[in-house]
């Protein structure tokens, strides 16, 4: 807090038009905000807080399905889960989710920019197109990728019909070099899983980006050009920093569900693409080892929270958010 010196006086002088004195106190109905909050709070308590507590309790119980479980504060389940099968699947999940998020940003940013500033009267129509996939079930959408990427699927038949198979082969050898496919087929590979994740979560990237970019004052872009910034510099110094809140929101909405997703890996992957969601799923539903499944869920949640917090801090967007 600076001392009340001459500098402060001149600042206050400029604010001479600020209202003086506190506004008159008037009777406020204090219960209104709580009444407005109540439905959401009740919903979250029943469907989020209670299940989370029950899951936490489950992770510390011992017993089996036939004889029932008892809370014994058995922390060893966590150590056991970590040592048995956690890390390869966890790291793979984070990498796949990270790559899918980066791709979604790469495709989504220009798309959001186009819709926000260049689409004119087509704006609403294009926005509807962005969310149109939601009209179909997640499973169907993901299965559709089998038809696209599969042997003699849409991609291969189109390539051979147009005599562009050499382009596809060139693409495949690129993917092989990146270890995203191992054989000649595109399906059942890391490439297919990442494609599915990118596709399925793209709308979650585009919509927050759109709402941010749409609010960007294009006069600032003009001002940057007027102040000797080339188009590249204008993007780096003005447009991108101002888009950060949208980028952060979009990447979080894409990365978090993608990291925990297992449908894409089940339907489009192979045994070498198992993601952490699949492990949790099989522990719950096939092995029926509830404590281990619950412990894995908690570890995943913690890791994601740490990643998200670090990311938001590093992006420096706390004040923009």
């Amino acid at each position: 807090m600076p001392a009340w010196g001459p500098t402060m006086t001149s600042v206050t002088a400029d604010r001479a038009d600020a209202p003086t004195g506190a506004p008159k106190p008037y009777k406020r109905r204090n219960w209104v905000p709580y009444a407005l909050l109540a439905p959401g709070m009740i919903w979250l308590t029943i469907f989020f807080v209670l299940p989370t507590l029950s899951l936490a309790s489950q992770s510390l119980q011992t017993g089996d399905v036939d004889n029932g479980y008892a809370l014994t504060w058995h922390w060893a389940t966590y150590a056991d889960a970590l040592s048995r099968f956690f890390w390869p699947q966890m790291v793979r999940s984070l990498i796949y989710a990270g790559v899918a998020t980066a791709l979604a940003l790469l495709f989504g940013y220009p798309l959001a920019w186009f819709i926000a500033h260049r689409s004119g009267k087509w704006k609403t129509f294009l926005l509807v197109l962005v969310i149109a996939p939601f009209f179909t079930s997640f499973l169907i959408r993901t299965l559709a990728w089998q038809n696209i990427l599969g042997n003699s699927g849409l991609l291969e038949s189109t390539a051979s019909f147009t005599h562009l198979t050499f382009l596809l082969d060139w693409f495949k050898s690129g993917l092989r070099a990146l270890h995203l496919i191992s054989t000649d087929q595109l399906m059942f590979s890391p490439f297919a899983v990442i494609s599915g994740l990118t596709y399925n979560f793209l709308p979650f990237m585009v919509l927050p980006l759109y709402s941010n970019i749409e609010r960007l004052d294009l006069r600032l872009v003009e001002a940057a050009g007027d102040l000797y910034a080339s188009p590249t510099q204008t993007f780096r110094k003005v447009i991108w920093p101002l888009s950060l809140p949208g980028v952060v929101a979009g990447t979080l909405l894409t990365f978090i569900p993608a990291a925990g997703d297992y449908i894409n890996s089940v339907l489009l992957g192979n045994t070498q693409t198992v993601m952490i969601g699949q492990v949790i799923d099989s522990q719950f539903l096939r092995v029926l080892d509830y404590p281990t499944a619950a412990a894995l869920s908690f570890i995943l949640m913690l890791i994601i929270i740490v990643i998200v917090m670090t990311y938001v801090r590093r992006a420096g967007t706390e004040e923009l958010l």
Partner: protein, 369 residues
């Protein structure tokens, strides 16, 4: 920074067409280096489009723009040594005040950006807020930041797009004086776009009055006011009383006879354009006197009087129903009452003469936006 060679800004036969609308219609202008130039006109007259073409934000459909004989017509905004103070200020919200001011210098790789930016902030008396964000500043302060951000680059031409439009009247007066001071201090060419005739007259060395995409008249404020070339300029710059008249013949002493509604008056021959007989005689309200002091006299009846302290404004109805406005300084002379019959007079040479084929209402109230 390499010393850039400054010079006159010339706009030659520039036209800007937006689909069916011609915003700027074949204008030609030379703005001398170091002058404070105003483009004045009602909204939609093409003044802002002209400014944007100089800035490079719009490109002319035809014509050329040069600075110091260098053709800049097709250059991108960031390639020309021209900066703009935007009407909306357009300060970068994610940067603090010093970073905003330094933006242009840093894009051009000026090593000395910090010192120069601090000096520019000192010039607009805002050093104390260097580390604040634009939203923490009042409108007047933001305006000064926008000015500093443009000035610091020492452009060949500084463009001001209605820079004072968003400020309240008192602050606007203050900033007008401030802008004028800064311009004479830094000696750059300022091109100021405004619809406020008083603002243009207060600040500019010369003014181009624009209307419907072309320049109505170009000149220094006094010439424009005393000798408007069209009814549009006469009405847009201040108030005018336009009397329908006919030049009837020469009189002695460099004067000419004219008759308005059967009343013989004398006008300065030098002010009558060659070969014109059907004319408007224009007299500014403050040139008219209540009482028979001047050589030309008209009888009338006071229909309205409003006392403003410094002066009193009268409306006087002439016998044929036309009302003239008379402004009488509060110099101690007796004030007329509403309903009183009075004589309104002026001396030959105080009037200006315009072609009667022009619309007497052109430019009336055109700045009410």
């Amino acid at each position: 920074m390499a010393a850039s060679e400054s010079g006159d800004l010339t706009i030659t036969a520039v036209t800007k067409q937006f689909d069916a609308f011609r915003a700027v219609d074949n204008i030609t202008l030379t703005i001398p280096q170091g002058s404070f130039f105003a483009l004045l006109g009602p909204s939609g007259c093409g003044k802002t489009t002209t400014l944007r073409m100089v800035a490079g934000l719009d490109h002319p459909t035809a014509g050329t723009i040069t600075i110091a004989d260098r053709d800049i017509t097709r250059l991108k905004p960031y390639q020309r040594n021209v900066n703009t103070v935007f009407q909306s200020y357009a300060l970068f919200p994610h940067l603090d005040i010093l970073e905003n001011v330094a933006f242009g210098l840093r894009r051009r790789g000026d090593k000395d950006w910090k010192k120069k930016s601090e000096d520019a902030l000192a010039l607009v008396e805002l050093s104390q807020v260097a580390r604040k964000k634009p939203t923490q500043l009042s409108g007047g302060m933001q305006q000064r930041v926008a000015l500093a951000r443009a000035l610091v680059n020492r452009p060949d031409v500084l463009l001001l797009d209605e820079p004072l439009g968003a400020l309240d009247l008192k602050l606007r007066r203050q900033m007008q004086i401030e802008l004028k001071r800064i311009q004479s201090e830094v000696g750059l060419t300022f091109v100021h776009v405004t619809h406020d005739q008083e603002e243009a007259m207060t600040m500019a060395d010369s003014i181009a009055v624009m209307n419907a995409g072309h320049i109505e008249q170009l000149g220094d404020p006094a010439t424009l006011y005393e000798n408007p070339a069209s009814t549009f300029v006469a009405n847009f710059l201040g108030q005018s009383n336009l009397l329908e008249a006919r030049i009837t013949g020469p009189a002695e002493g460099g004067l000419m006879h004219a008759t308005t509604h059967g009343i013989d008056v004398l006008v300065s021959a030098a002010r009558v354009p060659e070969g014109l007989t059907d004319v408007w005689i224009g007299v500014r309200p403050e040139k008219l006197r209540l009482g028979p002091g001047g050589r030309n006299a008209l009888q009338g009846n006071v229909t309205d009087a409003s006392f403003t302290g410094v002066s009193t404004q009268y409306l006087v109805r002439l016998p044929w129903g036309f009302e003239v406005m008379v402004v009488q300084q509060n110099d101690g002379s007796t004030r007329a009452q509403v309903g009183e019959n009075v004589t309104v007079s002026w001396d030959p040479g105080q009037e200006f003469i315009l072609d009667q084929s022009q619309d007497e209402d052109a430019g009336m109230g055109a700045d009410d936006d």
